[in-house]
Symmetry: C2
Subunit: 278 residues, 2 copies
């Protein structure tokens, strides 16, 4: 099994292998499927994939859950690790057979983000069988194994209620936290401290490098609370927000911090707080 | 010891240290020195530094030897590891005191390559004491420790004679060896095999990936010989040649391969051969 490539005086003879040894693509002949536009599919990946677990402790959490909400006409993407959660809902174009939910490895989704063309109105067909998922678009067929196991009961992790909520300018808040992160020490996590105080947020942090303090003004809200968090998780969530303004919902300084759009319900990011030293 | 930096609402307070704890620069007050143009100094570093030893087995060989040839009006830079050697001579502008030879850490020379300006006719002053070397140019003073120990007797490693020599086009030869290196396996060194054959060189190699063969024509020479070498060392040497043509001098297929310019003696690269399986 040799291939010869020659040009000028150069001759390469490359050893090959028998095509019979190439693994056969698993067929995904199931009728269970869902069709999405490129734009929606890309958005739901981009706005969740940052939150997948990167450790192999619970392999199922290294993937993104795709879950059908048939009555709503939507499908949700959900990613979660031990410290945060991201949900993004998009409308589906079509759903067939008994498609309900699957957990797709984040690596396959990352590859799709790279190879999906920019024609946002075109559609991608996703079909699932017991162990595999196929993606079909243009002349491409990509097949990936599904992750097996029980996904986290993520709905139970989302607080049902909040004590108060604050409208913030996403880029302002993001920039302040980025500045604060300059003082972060890579070996010890120094929490970012946010003091919500009726009409502004005092953001501060301290590490062995020094101290930082900044203030962001907000529309007046009804309460005050001091809460801490890991800047990496908050920055990743803010970075995934396409809106100019979002709502931050708070219940207590030990309860999850919720980020969501102002008047819609199409995404939700959750960041667990860090306990602050007093 | 705090520094406060503020702008807008942001306030950084950075911890500092007492300036008394900053180490004092070692003074290099010796009269022993040499002055070179930027252009010559850069050339002698660039054409030798690729050959310094990267292991710490013999720390002295991780540096470049600078050696005065007073009668010639030149200074040589010499770098050597267990498999190759590079020498580059340049004329000095001025020499003072008892400057004779020092071994300068390659790290300091690499830094100088980065920060020396492009004004090639300007000069850099190098002064040495027992343990330190200083470089003075424009408004910069850089001080480095010298490497201590006995440098390799590099002159003894250079063959005094050759059996025959071949004029080659540097870029042609380099490109063929680069192509051959595509088949190199990173775990096993596959030697590049050069069959010098009166008026051409047959270059070939084989690895578990495949085989390669190519031919470079040369002006007729008087002999034939098959010799092998590690492509990395040959490519590094060819890459450092600024000439279009060089002379390759061969003695036997177990003796060092010498590369030098056609009609000058200002540089010399040596690559040890690899023993070939027959």
């Amino acid at each position: 099994m040799l291939t010869t490539i020659s040009g000028g005086n150069s001759i390469f003879t490359i050893s090959g292998m028998s095509p019979e040894n190439f693994p056969e693509l698993p067929g995904v002949l199931s009728e269970d499927g869902i069709t999405l536009t490129y734009a929606d599919f890309k958005t739901m990946i981009r706005q969740t994939i940052f939150a997948v677990s990167i450790t192999d402790l619970k392999p199922i959490l290294t993937g993104v859950l795709f879950e059908l909400n048939k009555e709503e006409g939507t499908v949700s993407a959900v990613a979660v690790d031990n410290f945060r959660l991201a949900i993004r809902k998009v409308p589906f174009v079509q759903v067939t057979g008994g498609f309900s939910k699957v957990v797709i490895p984040s690596r396959a989704l990352n590859e799709l983000l790279k190879i999906l063309p920019d024609r946002d109105d075109e559609t991608i067909e996703i079909h699932t069988s017991a162990n595999f998922v196929s993606f079909r678009f243009e002349k491409v067929l990509m097949v990936s194994r599904l992750l097996e196991g029980e996904f986290l009961d993520y709905k139970a992790a989302i607080p049902k209620d909040y004590k108060f909520r604050v409208k913030v300018d996403v880029r302002d808040f993001e920039q302040v936290i980025e500045r604060a992160s300059l003082l972060a020490n890579s070996t010890i996590i120094s929490p970012i401290r946010c003091a919500f105080d009726f009409d502004h947020i005092d953001i501060s942090t301290a590490s062995n490098i020094g101290q930082f303090h900044d203030t962001v003004s907000c529309e007046p809200f009804s309460n005050k609370m001091v809460i801490g968090f890991n800047y990496k998780y908050m920055l990743a969530a803010l970075n995934a927000c396409d809106d100019e303004e979002i709502m931050i919902e708070l219940q207590s300084n030990l309860a999850p911090i919720i980020l969501k759009p102002l008047e819609r319900e199409d995404y939700l990011f959750l960041v667990l707080p860090l306990r602050m030293k007093e």
